[in-house]
Amino acid sequence: MVNNDVRTPCCGVKNHPQFTKLDAYIDTLQIDPEDPHRKETLIATLHQAQEIFGYLPEAVQIHIARRYNIPHADVSGVISFYNFFTTTPKGEVQINVCLGTACYVNGADRVLQDFEKALGIQAGKVSEDGRFSLDSLRCVGACGLAPVVTINQKVYGKVKPGEAREILEKYIVEEGSKGREVTHEQN
């Protein structure tokens, strides 16, 4: 089922605004479907796509594969290899506990447990209402602030076990006015 016209978006998503945005990005790359080096921009495109869609579902993977004129397996193989890419959606509030060495020796594992308990979810999971997701990451490079927790773009430093509840408070309160706090934090 090779689609010879790599410009045709797949699966009836032609006018979907997110796909339009992704296509606009891919257009700027001017991919030559025969160029043996064309995959060199694939990882950058996947970064873009994940930023647009929040994650990389199969429809997006297939779309990207067609635009690059490469098998879907190549795209999915790259996605599964790199930690940064996810095929499942994350929460609106993304909590990351740094488990880099500097944070770890300063008690980051107990901070993570504290967040797991406060949110009622395990690391790597999303809360049932889709509002929170909890993950660990390796070193944000702010080791002077260890242990570090990032919530969306905001960095919380020198976090102690037992403080999770307090830190999460304002994100829980915001539940009614969905996401407003998040946008504010990014500014």
């Binding site: 080096h37 064309r38 995959k39 060199e40 921009t41 694939l42 990882i43 950058a44 996947l46 970064h47 193989g77 790259v78 290899f81 790199y82 930690n83 940064f84 890419f85 488990l99 880099g100 060495t101 500097a102 944070c103 770890y104 020796v105 300063n106 447990q113 990451l137 390796r138 070193c139 944000v140 490079g141 702010a142 080791c143 002077g144 602030l145 260890a146 570090v148 960095v155 430093g157 037992g162």
Partner: protein, 625 residues
Amino acid sequence: MNKIETPTQLMELYDQYKSLLSARLGTEITDETLVILVCGGTGCQSSESERIVENFKQLIAAHGLDGRVHVSITGCFGFCEKGPIVKVFPGNVFYVQVKPEDASEIFEQHILQGKKVGRLLYEEPTTNTKSETADDIPFYKRQLRVALRNCGLINPEKIEEYLGAGGYQALSRVLLSMTPQQVIEEMKKSGLRGRGGAGFLTGKKWEFASRFESEEKYVICNADEGDPGAFMDRSIMEGDSHSVIEGMIIAGYAIGAHQGYIYIRAEYPLAVKRLQIALSQARKYGFLGENILGSGFSFDIQIRLGAGAFVCGEETALIHSLQGLRGEPTTKPPFPAESGLWGKPTVVNNVETLANVPVIFQKGADWFRSLGTETSKGTKVFALAGKVANVGLVEVPMGTTLREIIYDIGGGIKDGAEFKAAQTGGPSGGCIPRAFLDTPIDYESLSAIGSMMGSGGMIIMSDRDCMVNIARFYLEFTVEESCGRCTPCRIGNKRMLEILTDITEGRGSEEDLVELQALAETIVDSSLCGLGQTAPNPVLSTMKYFMDEYEAHVKEKRCPAGVCQKLLHYIILPEKCIGCTSCSRGCPVGAITGSVKQVHTIDESKCIKCGVCMNRCKFGAIIRQ
């Protein structure tokens, strides 16, 4: 600004811009202007240093002092423990832990009235004396900043300041007065070795790549700093992007490449942004592109993002990732110098290595050789973190001892604890015990004691850290990051992790220790790439120096440092318990019984060792053993 086409034009710009920095360098005191520098490294930015800059800007504008007082963001000052940091020139006054709202106090007292704000000056903890200038601070006294020469001095987003600091003059000298062969000879003579970990002679690497005939060759900057707890490369890229770019162009000229790539972690958005700014400025000024400085040599650089895979720090894996593939390593030879990106000769150099290159051509190979030890020349940047009092970025000449780094610069161990070990080299390195505190650090001495230089992460551990648990922590990391291509690394490390988990959870036996040792040695011998070959190092080095801790775990089911939760026992001291019921109300599993005003007891069979009871007890009646 027009393109610079001759070295004379470059020198004219240098003369024009050097005064930008003279106040900061103390070479020329101008009464007219005051300069406020605010650290814009990741740590300080996380603590809202950008708002400090904004507040200063508003104050300057409100007082109509626009021409007289300059405020600028700069790269990392290195003293992350005390961030955010603000420096005021002239005087090199060093303010620590500045909050956005402190800007007005600094402005009104220092800028308007010329009086230092004592409250925000650095206080030496042992003597309680305030440091009037940055030069008085012990953290900086022992350091020698070569790779970090411009970090915290220039605004990384302004090429004018880099030019004012002598930037691109090395490139000009190389392109217009040296042959590629002379460049390689100079590099070899300098003795600069790769700062990414393995320590291969940079000049030799360039020489190999230059010998292979090919129309296309590539220079790759390895900025995939994956070692958790290391942030040297990030700070260089954020604080002095142009020095890395200049180093890459020189490397390109030496080997005959016209295209360079910077492969950088996606986790470093600020570094990516600063590099992008620097690249476009360098193109505008003609340091990148066609016919650089009228020399006839052309070179350009592109940025490529990684996507979170530790193994991509290995050069063959990195090259695969650059090609849009899974970042799996391949066996060497062929080395990238012969067959790298797209099968063409390629040089892969680390960020810190490249940042050293321009200085070598500015000050000469002999000067560089004069620093360091017999086998390891120059300086090394370490990211000092963990249980040390002064967490931060430290650059010292090779041959400096651990004791000097930890005690003289790092201020000793935090919270009055005792030093136990220093971990260098990240997941590939080892733990260095107290006995080697006075070993001069260089590539050879570190590998002789079972660790390695690595990229420069240095995590300090105290008597409150369990070495078995630390080994398990690193193994967990390598198991997660193993790409799965070869069996020893994929399965062997997983087995080691299982054994270590058993030991830390009280299920370990003495036979396990024998097996652990054998497995570790096999994995070192038989893995495909550097990741697998070095993954057992944290286990081997801790077994070598801290066997007593392993034995306590397996024989006595005891964790001497009191870290491994499953081996802990919580006990209520009857003489201190007043029966307030706070502990039993807090216990998540109902393991504590006792009524009001009666001594409580913990049921060991139910206890999950979470420590909540101990935190809740206000009378110190609960202890952990």
